[in-house]
Structure formats: C-alpha cells, structure tokens
C-alpha cells in the first residue's frame, strides 16, 4: 500500500505517455512523432482553428447549466492523439470486461437473492441507505438479463503498467459522440496519418449500440424492434449526443411528452397516431423516468412506464436501478464484488478509497484533507469535490465543515498523479494530465468494448480536473492494431 500510495501522490512526477525520462519517444508514439517532426507547427495551429470552425458549424456543442447568453459551448479539442498500444489495450479490455460482467451479476443479485450481503462481503447498510437502490426493481428480470447495456469505465494511468478504475459509470454515461466525432475530425484533417499508422476504427459504435439494444428486446416485441432514444430535450447538456446517436442508429429521438402508455405498451405520438416502442435508450435519470413511480413532479418521463417494464412490455436501457452499482460508496467494495462474482482477483485495480462513513476512514481523511481528493458519493461532473493540494486554506476549512456534518456523503482518494499526453500549446507540445473513458456495450450474449474511447484532458498546466464542465478538453484516442 505504501509504495503504491507514494506513487499516486501528486508530488511525484507524472507518467509521460509520449516520452520516457530520457526524452526518448515511447514505442506507441514512434510513428506519430516521426510524422509530427515533419510538420510545421504553424500549419498545425491553422488546422486547430479549422477544427474549431468545423465543430461550430456542425453544432458539436454542449450546453452549460446556468449560462444563458452563450449557452452552447465547444469542448476544446486537441489535435495530438492519445495513443495506446495493442498490448496495453488487450489487458484493459480483459479487465473492463471482467468488471462489467461482475457489475451485471451484482445488480441481478442485489435485486434478487442478495447473496453477496448474506455472505457478508458487503454491508446491508450500503443498500439500505442508498437512494439509487430501487425497491421497484426487486424480483424484476430485465429482458435478456442485461442491466447495463452501456457502461463508460473511467480509467486513469499512473505508470507504464499502472491503470486504475476511477469510476464505473453504469447509469447513462455520455461522451461517446465525441469519441466518434473526434476521429471524424482527425480523419478529415490528417488523412495521411491514418495510412501511415494502423489505428482501430471506432465508427461502428452506433451499429453495435443498436445491436446491443435490439438483442435485449422485450417479450412483447414481435418482428424488428422499434428503438427510441429518450432525451430530456434540447436544453440538456448532452442533447447533441442524444440526437447524434438517434441519427446514427436510425432510431427515433423522443421526449417524455411524445410518449404515453397505450394498450399496455409504451407508445410514441406519430403523425398517424400512437405506435408502440420496444426498446428505449433513455438518457434521463431514474428519478425522472416515471412520475407515477418516482418523482411525481417529473416532466421528462412517462407516467406508468415502470409498470409496463415490469410486465415485459418494454426494454429500458440502462435498466432502472443500475445506479446502485456505480455510486462512490459501492465503488470502494468493487474489488470484493469482482472477486465474488467472477471467482478471480480483479485485473484492473481500484484507486484506494477511504469511506468517510467509517470512523477510522473519516479520522484519516480529516487529518489529510490537504493531500486528498474528496468526492460526494452521488456527485458527478467534477461538481462539489475538493482537490486538496489545489485548494486554499479557506476552501479546505469550508469543506471540513460539510464533511463533518454529513460524513457518509463522502469518500476520499489520494490525489493521483494522472499520466500526461502532450497538447498543442502556444509554445509547442506541452504535457497535460489525461484520463480515459472506454465505452462498453452489453448484449445478452456478448460484451463489446470499442477499441478507443474518450480521452479527457485538463487544458490548464498542472490541473488534474479533466471534466468538460470545468474547462477540460478532449483528444482522439488511438488503439494501435497489432501488426
């Protein structure tokens, strides 16, 4: 623990993915570095401006909550790809697949026999006090046995062979449209790169998503399943992605008020009347899904959809109640969960996590606030967290108050020395911290992991916060083909 922890601390030098300590280019980047050296940086900067124009024109923007005037922003896109070797990827792939299998088995167990609790491997309190655990799902068999059709596993790297899972994102992970559009942009601007370097394509993700969804069609579906993407609407921060995926899959893009329950099915209002939907890829949270069963004030969902779901009339992807598998308190038990359901130790490690709900954990965290990252158990998007080394004394004092008032609401982790990949800065290439979100599709009979993912990059020097809502950018992610 001590050795590893020391390496994780921000005080250490971060692992540079492109160059080693002697300044030599690492193997995965050799082809790219060669190409780059023959390219004038002025030309590259011109290409960067072209890319921005392209993103604006095609409307690849995200909405920022609370910002009214310029409410659509671009996520900064950096032209230098993040490159991962075939060998590195093969190990990640095995680790992610193992973890996603375990999560689905875990969810099935939680909503049925709860053997893992009876075996004493996780405490009952983890479920009992968890808002993301839905009693309405107890005993429900999701169509095809799949709970998490789509998972976005967040990984961070701290060394040559050191990857950690930071979050499992088993609810409604977003960002996959950027994975695809970033590649499109790179192909458009540097076609010659792709003829020199063998990179796995990522463009078949929408086809695979459609397949994962249709293979989990409900019993009530006869013939070709009708698929719809449910969006909270045009003002949602990820609306572009919802429209993009519906478009690419040939699915309908629906909002809650387009849907109602008709003759025991969930149906959408078309120009010719109501037509049943078989599979709904929902991008609204559990709470808002069904005003009759959950939040009564929700305008985003469909009254009664849960009853149709329980009766086998529709597939909801991801299934309601999957959030219980990815909250940060459950996360700290993932090594036990993986081992319990797969019978093997986890291939990918967790980041060491202190549970503030436990007295020892809380005491440690309060003593080390200045060096830890403290997160809300249910938080996301980089909101409401404390990055100890970057916080002022006043910020730490304020956070200490919140933490002592509701300790069970928080977990803490060491400040990771996230690996770096160069970005194109004014002065040339400059290292910036990155993370990685590969996308996983689960069908009843298989798990597909798209060879690629979303690399998020902190655009500010030294910053460890990569979230787009906090000014982070993205990169195209290359998985090299094994030749």
């Amino acid at each position: 623990m001590c050795m590893r922890q020391a390496k994780l601390l921000g005080a250490c030098v971060a692992f540079n993915e492109m160059k080693d300590d002697t300044g030599a280019v690492r193997e995965p980047y050799e082809g790219y570095a060669q190409w780059f050296d023959g390219y004038a940086s002025a030309d590259l900067r011109r290409k960067a401006r072209e890319a921005e124009t392209f993103f604006r024109r095609t409307g690849i923007t995200f909405n920022v909550y609370g910002a009214s005037e310029a409410d659509e922003r671009l996520i900064p896109f950096d032209l230098v790809p993040r490159i991962i070797s075939a060998r590195e990827w093969a190990r990640l792939e095995r680790g992610i697949e193992q973890r996603v299998r375990a999560i689905n088995a875990f969810l099935h167990d939680l909503y049925h026999k709860q053997e893992i609790i009876r075996a004493g491997r996780i405490p009952l309190s983890l479920i009992e006090n968890n808002d993301a655990f839905l009693p309405q799902m107890i005993g429900v068999e999701p169509p095809g046995g799949v709970y998490t059709h789509v998972v976005g596993t967040d990984l961070v790297r701290t060394g040559e062979n050191e990857f950690f899972v930071l979050e499992d994102n088993a609810r409604t992970p977003s960002g996959v449209s950027y994975m695809i559009e970033n590649r499109e942009t790179m192909l458009r601007m540097f076609p010659e790169l792709f003829s020199r370097i063998p990179v796995h394509p990522v463009g078949d993700y929408p086809t695979n998503l459609r397949r994962a969804l249709t293979r989990s069609a409900p019993a009530a579906c006869h013939g070709r399943p009708t698929v719809a993407v449910l969006t909270p609407g045009v003002h949602n921060s990820a609306y572009f992605e919802h429209a993009f995926l519906a478009d690419q899959m040939g699915a309908e893009l629906v909002e809650g008020h387009d849907l109602r329950v008709v003759d025991g099915r969930v149906a959408m209002r078309t120009t010719q009347g109501f037509t049943p939907i078989d599979v709904i890829y929902r991008r609204v949270d559990d709470d808002f899904l069904d005003p009759l069963n959950f939040r009564p004030d929700s305008m985003l969902g469909v009254p009664g959809i849960m009853d149709i779901y329980r009766a086998g009339g529709i597939t909801i992807a991801n299934a309601p109640g999957t959030g219980v598998a990815d909250d940060k308190a459950v996360y700290s038990y993932m090594p036990e969960i993986v081992e319990f359901y797969t019978g093997k130790p986890p291939i990918l490690q967790n980041v060491p996590t202190w549970r503030c709900s436990e007295p020892d954990g809380l005491a440690y965290v309060l003593d080390h606030l200045g060096e830890l990252v403290v997160k809300e158990v249910h938080g996301s998007g980089g909101y409401g967290m404390l990055v100890g080394p970057a916080a002022s004394k006043a910020e730490i004092a304020a956070f200490r108050k919140k933490l002592t008032a509701r300790p069970a609401n928080y977990i803490a982790q060491p400040t990771l020395a996230l690996s770096t990949v160069p970005v194109l800065a004014r002065s040339g290439l400059a290292p910036r911290h990155v993370d990685l979100r590969p996308f996983v599709l689960v069908s009843p009979d298989r798990i597909d992991i798209t060879p690629g993912g979303l690399t998020r990059v902190a655009m500010k020097k030294g910053s460890l916060v990569v979230n787009s809502s906090q000014g982070g950018g993205t990169k195209d992610t290359w998985i090299l083909e094994d030749r």
Binding site: R57, G59, A243, L253, H257
Partner: protein, 314 residues
C-alpha cells in the same frame, strides 16, 4: 413513421425561415420608400411594422417611427419576436429539435446561417451596411432551401417543410396586400401620379415580384394587374394561388403516403377552388380589403387544422 413533434418542428422551422426572409425584404422595400422622400418615412415605417405584425411591440418601446430605430427593431431586436434575427434563431432552435430528420447539409446551412447573422447583427445596423445585410439574409435563407431540395428525401419530412413555407408565404403576401390595398384601388385620387408608381413598386418589391412583373408586362404598371399578379398568377411563386397549389399538393402527397384524407385537405382544396373560379374584377367588386382579410383568416385556420390533423401537439 414520424413523431408529431418532429413534424411540428419542421413545419415551424420553415415558417420561421420564410418569415425571416420576408421581413428582410419588407425592410428593404421600406428603406427604399423612405429614401425617395416622396412619402413621409414615418408613415412608410408605420405600414411596414403593420405588415410585419409588430407595430404594437414597436410602439411599446419607441415613440416615433424613425428609419434607424425601425430598421434596428426589424432586423435584430431581441425584444421583437418577429425580428429577422429572432426568427432565424428560432428556426435554428427548431432545427436542433428535429436534427434527426434533417440531412447534415440542411442542418449545417441553418446553423451557419444563424452564426453568420448573429455576428453580422451583433451591433446596431449602419445604414450603409443595410443592403449588404439584406442580401446576406436572402443568401443564408436560400442556402437552406437549396440544401433542402438538393439533399433531402422527398418524403413526409419534405412535405411538412414545404407546408410551413407556403402557409407562411401566403400569409406574408396577403399581409403586404392588406396593408397596401388602398394604393391598388382604382378609385384613389393619386392614380397616375408619380407617388402611385413608387407605391406600386414597393408592393412588388416587398414580394420580390418587381422583376418578374415588369418582364411579363413590359414596364406598364396597372394596379389591377399588380393585384392579379400577386393574388391569382399561377407562375409567380409568391402569389396566393401558387402558395395554395403547393399546400394542396403537399397535403395530397401526405394523403397518398399515409393513405388517409384529413379535414385540412378539404379546406385547402376549397381555398384553391375559390381562387380558381374568381377573377380580379370580381375581387375588386366585392372589395379587395374584405377579400384579403377573409383569406388571412382562412389561411390561419388551415394552418391550425394541419397542426391538429398531424398531431403536432399533445
């Protein structure tokens, strides 16, 4: 199969685009009139505001009709729901809503059009820039139309887009006539005066019909012929009759596609038949103003019936 909400978004996207272009054309015609000094600029802007349907909104925040403020209000005011910029922004917002029904080309044309106009209209309009701005509006709007024709499947998506365009265009042409009907009446005391000629020119210009009218009539302007041209001509793409025929055709295409007729089909065919059997003399005899007012009411009712028939709303 199409969502009612999608049909609604398409229909309104194209109504708003059409109207935004027409408002720009009205500004152009009004500006020319104000320049000629043969009529008072203030009364000309008054009638332009009335035609554009935003006279009351203008007077809420302005005491007088002046060229600068009128142009600013009509082109870019955020307080004016009928300004060129507001309408274009709304059209783009509707396009975002129905993005899955549009080709990438159509979406990019409307998105780029909006970005161009947003930048071009970021500051108050200087008079010297007005002609350039107006032609930018026309070009951006023409790009969207061109992409619609060049890249979209000619299925129901296309029909809803066209229905929006022609319901709005019929409304706009009728409004121009309604505000200016008196200059077309044979009995006005101005007949033959130079003022009259200028006024007629404005009416034609507002409907982008000046060139085609002169081409057909060899520069010989007569009020009854101008009215005939804008109401009953079958070749003129902004005439009431032409718009009517387009609405009938697009509804007929929907009837074939869905294999069901709706009340709006009867209404549209009735309107077409009414125009078919009348002449401009009969219209003048019964009263041009009354005719136009009646047309506006019916056109409005037809629009609402289409919205109901195809389940635009819950």
């Amino acid at each position: 199969m199409m969502l009612g909400r999608t049909a609604c978004g398409l229909y309104w996207m194209f109504r708003q685009l059409e109207r935004s272009e027409n408002t720009a054309r009205l500004v152009e015609a009004g500006f020319r009139m104000a320049l000629t000094r043969s009529v008072s600029a203030s009364s000309e802007w008054d009638s332009v505001m009335t035609t554009a349907g935003c006279r009351d909104a203008y007077l809420d925040s302005h005491a007088r009709f002046e060229t600068d403020t009128a142009i600013d209000f009509l082109m870019r005011s955020k307080d004016n729901p009928a300004s060129v910029l507001t309408l274009f922004a709304n059209a783009r917002q509707n396009a975002r809503q129905v993005r899955t029904a549009l080709t990438r080309e159509v979406w990019e044309a409307v998105n780029e059009g909006w970005m161009t106009l947003r930048d071009a209209l970021a500051r108050p309009v200087r008079i010297a820039e007005l002609p350039g701005l107006i032609s930018t509006v026309r070009q951006q709007s023409a790009l969207v139309r061109g992409m619609l024709y060049g890249t979209m499947l000619q299925d129901d998506i296309f029909n809803y887009a066209r229905l929006g365009t022609f319901i709005e265009r019929a409304d706009n042409t009728a409004r121009i006539l309604d505000v200016k009907y008196y200059v077309l009446l044979p009995a006005t005391s101005y007949v033959g005066s130079s003022l009259d000629n200028v006024q007629w020119e404005t009416v034609l210009r507002s409907a982008s019909a000046d060139r085609s009218y002169h081409w057909l009539h060899g520069g010989d302007s007569k009020p009854s012929e101008i009215a005939d041209f804008l109401i009953l001509d079958r070749r003129m793409p902004r005439s009431l009759y032409y718009c009517c025929c387009e609405v009938v055709d697009n509804l007929a295409a929907l009837a074939r596609l869905y294999d069901v007729r709706k009340p709006s089909h009867d209404m549209a065919e009735e309107a077409q038949a009414r125009l078919n059997r009348t002449t401009i003399d009969e219209i003048f005899e019964a009263g041009l103003h009354e005719f136009i007012a009646d047309f506006l009411v019916r056109n409005n009712a037809l629009g609402s019936q289409i919205e109901t028939d195809y389940r635009f709303y819950e």
